[in-house]
Symmetry: C2
Subunit: 493 residues, 2 copies
Amino acid sequence: MEVVDQSVIPQQKSGFFARLKALPCKVKHNIIMVGKNIKKLGKDDPRRVIHSLKVGLALTLVSLFYYLKPLYDGFGMSGIWAVLTVVVVFEFSVGATLGKGINRACATLTAGALGVGALHLSSLFPKEEQPIILGSLVFVLAAATTFTRFFPKIKARYDYGLIIFILTFSMISISGYRVDKLLQMAHQRLSTILIGGATCIIVSICVCPVWAGQDLHNLTASNIDKLANYLEGFGDTYFQTAPEDKDCVNDIKNDKSFLQGYKSVLNSKANEESLANFARWEPGHGRFLFRHPWKQYLKIAALARQCAYLIEALNSQCSSDIQAPPDFTSLIQESCIKMSSETGKTLKSLATSIKAMKHPNSATEHVENSKTAAKDLKSALEAAAIEDLDLLAIISAATVASTLVEIVECVEKISDSVHELSQMAHFKKVEATVSPEKAPQMLLHRGTVKPVLLDGDTDDDHVVITVHDDIASDSPDKQNVKTPKTRVAPAVL
Amino acid sequence: MEVVDQSVIPQQKSGFFARLKALPCKVKHNIIMVGKNIKKLGKDDPRRVIHSLKVGLALTLVSLFYYLKPLYDGFGMSGIWAVLTVVVVFEFSVGATLGKGINRACATLTAGALGVGALHLSSLFPKEEQPIILGSLVFVLAAATTFTRFFPKIKARYDYGLIIFILTFSMISISGYRVDKLLQMAHQRLSTILIGGATCIIVSICVCPVWAGQDLHNLTASNIDKLANYLEGFGDTYFQTAPEDKDCVNDIKNDKSFLQGYKSVLNSKANEESLANFARWEPGHGRFLFRHPWKQYLKIAALARQCAYLIEALNSQCSSDIQAPPDFTSLIQESCIKMSSETGKTLKSLATSIKAMKHPNSATEHVENSKTAAKDLKSALEAAAIEDLDLLAIISAATVASTLVEIVECVEKISDSVHELSQMAHFKKVEATVSPEKAPQMLLHRGTVKPVLLDGDTDDDHVVITVHDDIASDSPDKQNVKTPKTRVAPAVL
């Protein structure tokens, strides 16, 4: 037994000492990891660091209610409500802060008035009956307000206000039963809450403001851009490399950065809706007026998601192991690459025009080009006479082609809705002028020949852009104006 | 001029009076509409009404701190913190309430201790320097904690705790500068906060509890069920009616209830994640133990969403105007209908087994059937020799077939992950016994003949089910056990 014990104890001891020795290393490693994470988080969006400092600043400002004697003499213990308000109201974006602040102020006012009314009502009854009256009122109002919070529209905009309404009404009508100088207390609290809310709003707007509207605007543009990246790359990768180098097709599936791009669009709904919700509280800022059509962004986002679903299907289709016969591939290849690259270019130019808030002129041409390519595909398939066709072998490539046709339709809808946005939000009109020596190159186009076709490979190199503010022709009534399908001949031509 | 005025004023007046006359009607109409909405909201989920009453009850309970003299003498004005806690902590589900309650209690304790420590530290300095020390501490801690809230994992679980941490630390270290009996105040507040939180948790658990875990479980089952409904109906609707009655195909697109079903699965991610998050706070309840594998539900949900994306693609594909030639349709029709109905049945039986928490035995057979149908489709296409094929006409039907094959693969993955869940959560094992007189009907199966094939039209009519608790064979280590692909012959046969 002793021998066993002897052999065990040193092992345990050495194990313990080894772990003790390794501990500083492990702790150091963990600290370095946490440090890296913190650095990454701050680097990804430096506004996070600024926001944290802003919260500290706002809190320090309201703490002056305690530290400065004259202010403390005026407000007393109620100053703590300013601190409380700052902590719960200060949010990342101006819109969220404003929404919460306004909700809190309105709810406190209404509930305060109702609470004082309830106390007056209860004072008509004898003292021992008052708790029953007040208790019933609190019960009924709290239950009714809580139920109201289940209405989706009310929850989206006024949820915080309703909570504060219950809170304030309960506090006033319950504590009013014991407190004598109720009105003075209510007045002090209301002022400090208003001061706290105002501090939040002022700091939020004046120190490096984060506008939810601007974020929604950028998010919409970047989501469309992500879809564009996939589509611009897809056609060439799938067709040109598929027969020779099968690994490259798998790359479409394996390349994470390629994938991650559009994947994030699939689940962006919740984020977009909350941003649109916050944006509606915000005053005009930068290039956005007060009543900027934020709802239209949600419409565009829904269509972009629709397109992402199709790309998701496309992505799983192109992983098939079966190689299409060269006859069939050559039949559809050109129009498929064209559809893919032209839809990509459409989306790219829509994203660019949203970012720059300029009228998406060039997108219209790319839409027309992609539609022409879809028609070309149809006529090529109709005219084809391939004998001894291996149906199984063509089915995968045919599915890709068919999905691309659907993507063309979806991208046209996105283009239409961005044009609507451009009308509603008075985007600057851009007059594209085709330099005559370049246009004829593209007139030799496979399939139907269009009257004016622009070079699609590079976006702007042959276009002279004239920007002028378009005030006379745009009005808010024109919200349903669709994309002009045929292009008006530019004045300079 | 007078004539004009005479003719205008009565019109205006009559317009005003007409509107005044119509006002009661309009108000009545609005009130009726609001009433209907309230009724609908309550009818859709009666737990909403119960929750509202529970909030009222909890508030009434904590208001006793003010109404009952002995309690008021003990806690004084601090009783208001119990009211405040109830209003902000009480949430719809037990998990959310527990999460907030525990967050609040822990954060209050930690921040309280740190706050008292900060006050002691500042007391070492002269009185006029104390605000600077305390202010700097509040600034640094608030900024650091606010930044911590940006870490996604911390935000998901401890966001509320971090807000309360800032709140409590600021309140104690700021107000401590002026208040003398700080420790007594802190003690009173902490007790009332704990009592308020406990009231919430007790009312939430004891009065008709709403378990987030149960909700997540039901949501997962119902999402799979929605996908099943679409797939079960799709094959027959698309193929049998397409040649004769084109309107019916459009019905797939137009029938809102048919559509809405799977559409809600597309955007269910946020909801599922928050439910899983709340569920992790919940103790064991009903059929769920404390460490129920909630994360596996998220895995299943992600795969179900993947399937919904494919159905979304399928849905847009079947709206094509081009009719496939009868030759081609008859070639793929049988296997497509089979794939669609068998995947539908797989999902239906998975949903049923999740709901009943029973091992999904019958799903495995349907998965095999659908895979056989996919193989049948491949061999039918390989063997086919159709001459003068109109490529354009077949492309739409071919795409539908190809998407169905992908859905078969996706449904197999869903089945695998539900099997994993069944292992991890120790679902009851069900031994299916085939009644011999019915099985042979299905042995006449197109393509390869399977050794045992069950009638798939009705799920259970020919199956005798024996349920026994499966404790010995299931262990938590077996988390990666996959679906048995070949079915073990039942003991009773």
